[in-house]
């Protein structure tokens, strides 16, 4: 398990670093919202569910896509806008999808995927095979009215969905203290009759453990569960860079999080020879994905009109 977690953390980190490296060259013309530094939330939670379970994420969704096993080549090609991308180039970074791996996609409009996940999970409940939906969103999304509406509905109808709030303390540049009247999000959620965990230690194993417990609770037919995971966004809100000179946050906070970087912490638990082999394999995968994207064709012009309506 430790090795799997490390591989996933490393793959996400390195893929995003590669995206950030390529970005200034303009081969990627899609707004990117990097998860660098907070990948451990996706990795911890998704490790607790199966291949058949479904994951939805936000525009900051690279980590969830990759952690769920989404195709890396088609990921990179989608960044490039190529026809061999996971959505033929129509989606870009903010709307990755891979239905073969049950990645249900993402949305650029904050919180919109929350009810959609509930609806999808309602259908899974009816299907009766015990599958669940994991719905990732940010702290900002919890402020939208549809969040409360969805919690109420999901609890009322015992819908099998795990809500996961990645609390990185900022919505774009607005601090949580400027936005929340009260920080007790988990307690707010509990008033809907939904069990809620707050994992504040930034530890991937704590997240995995909490997620496993809550997934068990959901699979037993009890309805939805909720977790809030503290995290930190290392880079700027949108784009490849750091933004500690912009004055809205301190580098000291970053350094505190870097000191407990889960990729390094978990990596240190491995045999170092083994770790080097994994790392080398990941570099190959990424190079291969970039090559796949580079070589991919552009969509044909008539694709502009393809799929406006379903047949």
């Amino acid at each position: 398990m430790v090795e799997d977690i490390y591989r996933s953390l490393r793959l996400i980190r390195r893929t995003e670093e590669e995206v950030a490296r390529l970005y200034p060259s303009d081969v990627i013309k899609s707004p990117i919202h990097l998860s660098i530094g907070q990948e451990f939330v996706s990795v911890g939670v998704i490790g607790a569910v199966g291949d058949d379970d479904v994951v939805s994420a936000t525009y900051r969704g690279h980590a969830a896509y990759i952690a769920k096993g989404g195709d890396l080549r088609r990921f990179m090609a989608e960044m490039y806008g190529k026809a061999n991308g996971c959505a033929g180039g129509k989606a870009g970074s903010m709307h990755l999808i891979d239905m073969e791996r049950n990645v249900l996609g993402m949305s650029a409009v904050v919180a919109t995927t929350i009810p959609v996940s509930v609806g999808y999970a309602m259908a899974l409940k009816r299907e009766g095979r015990g599958r669940i939906v994991v719905c990732f969103f940010g702290d900002g999304a919890s402020e939208e009215g549809v969040f409360s509406e969805s919690l109420n509905f999901a609890s009322l109808h015992k819908i099998p969905v795990l809500f996961v709030c990645e609390n990185n303390g900022y919505a774009i540049h607005a601090r949580i203290e400027e936005r929340w009247a009260n920080e007790a999000l988990s307690r707010r959620v509990e008033t809907f009759g939904i069990p809620a965990r707050h994992v504040a230690d930034g530890n991937v194993f704590s997240i995995r453990k909490a997620a496993e417990e809550l997934v068990g609770y959901i699979r037993a037919g009890n309805g939805p569960a909720f977790m809030e995971c503290a995290a930190y966004r290392w880079r700027e809100h949108v784009g490849p860079n750091e933004d500690y000179n912009d004055g809205y946050r301190e580098r000291a906070a970053l350094e505190a999080w870097q000191a407990k970087d889960q990729m390094e912490v978990v990596g240190a638990m491995l045999d170092q020879g083994r770790r080097r082999t994994i790392d080398a394999g990941i570099e190959e995968m990424i190079a291969d994905a970039v090559q796949f994207a580079d070589a991919g064709p552009w969509p044909e012009p008539e694709q502009l009109y393809a799929h406006v309506f379903a047949d």
């Binding site: 989606a91 996609g105 009810p115 509930v118 799929h307």
Partner: protein, 356 residues
């Protein structure tokens, strides 16, 4: 009554809708109904009557007051293979659903390059009469027509209501199903069996030579009454029901205008940037230069709908104002004409009484 068939069983608009939904729920397990008041004793003007008793609360789901979330939930369920019908007793409440409908449902299929579909029906009833006022009378189909990925239909009679509903449920796209409260008080011949009314096909309801009149939703009914009044003075109007607004059958409308040379669109909505503007522009583009045409449109007065009947009268086109406008277009040199008051009175929709 404007059913395209001329005999058989008579059904009300609401009963026709209810029958269509029940037949489809029977046929296809994935169809379900969700919405505020769909299970109560009034049953959305009767249009969901008996469904919960027959199909149970898992398939006829009473919704919390959460239009935004429920639209998203319907979208998610549709993406997962179910076929939701989300019902709103007033179209005005669709404003709370706009985010999901425009940003999620309409785009699901496109954004994901065909990997997902969102087959869902959103039923919305336009209010009118008994002082429905500013927020219970709006017709917002034009807003939805604007967005690629959404289909919009507005059947004007019980026959089309049933056929369009069955087609909408089977359609693999989000369909905004526009109903009008006054249509609930009309009956038509409706076949007992299942059938679909194809989207994107207008119907010539009354053939005529002097002018083409396109009536949308309830305004089709009002236009037909105007046409009857005009027939008495020898003006022959070809009345067309577009039935489906997106897709819109511009070919049929254009063909008619090519014949008559005159076009009046009567919308049950505001005219600016709306369905009537779209239809006039479409005809002008197609016939430009080919022959001179005279065009005009009518709709809600460009103001907020007042509650008091003293002012509300001036808000809506009526058979009298429609007939008068047509007369002016067909006989521009004649004196202004209005139908005889007694006859005009007969032409109003009289069946409705309050309180709600």
């Amino acid at each position: 009554m404007s059913s395209p068939i001329e005999s058989g069983r008579i059904l009300s608009y609401g009963d026709a809708l209810c029958e269509a939904v029940a037949m489809e729920m029977e046929r296809d397990e994935s169809v379900f109904v969700i919405g505020l008041n769909v299970t109560d004793h009034k049953a959305i003007l009767g249009s969901t009557r008996g469904l919960v008793q027959r199909f149970g609360p898992d398939r006829v789901i009473e919704s919390p007051l959460s239009e935004d979330a429920v639209t998203g939930i319907a979208t998610g369920a549709a993406m997962a293979g179910l076929r939701p019908i989300h019902v709103h007793i007033r179209m005005d409440f669709l404003m709370l659903c706009m985010n999901q409908l425009v940003n999620m449902s309409a785009k699901a299929h496109y954004m994901y390059n065909g990997q997902l579909k969102a087959p869902m029906v959103v039923r919305a009833i336009i209010g009118k009469s008994w002082g429905q006022g500013a927020q219970h009378s709006q017709a917002l189909h034009g807003m939805f027509m604007h967005v690629p990925g959404l289909k919009v239909v507005a059947p004007s009679n019980a026959y089309d209501a049933k056929g369009c509903m069955i087609a909408a449920i089977r359609d693999n796209n989000p369909v905004i199903f526009v109903e009008h409260r006054m249509l609930y008080y009309t009956d038509a011949f409706v076949p007992e069996e299942s059938y679909t009314v194809e989207f994107g096909k207008a119907r010539i309801v009354r053939p005529g030579d002097d002018i083409t009149v396109v009536g949308i939703s309830n305004m089709l009914v009002e236009s037909l009454r105007a046409q009857e009044l005009l027939a008495e003075i020898g003006i022959s109007a070809e009345v067309i029901d577009p039935i489906s607004l997106a897709p819109l059958d511009m070919d049929a409308i254009t063909k008619s205008v090519r014949k008559t040379g005159r076009l009046l669109v009567v919308d049950n909505a505001w005219t600016s940037t709306g369905a009537s503007a779209e239809i006039l522009a479409g005809v002008a583009e197609r016939l430009g230069g080919e022959r001179p045409i005279m065009v005009s449109r009518m709709g809600f007065a460009p103001t907020t709908c007042p509650t008091t009947s003293a002012l509300e009268k001036g808000f809506y086109p009526t058979p009298v104002t429609i007939a008068s406008r047509i007369h002016r277009m067909v006989r521009p040199d004649a004196a202004v004409w209005e139908p005889d008051a007694g006859h005009a009175e007969m032409a109003y929709q009289l069946k409705f009484r309050g309180p709600f």
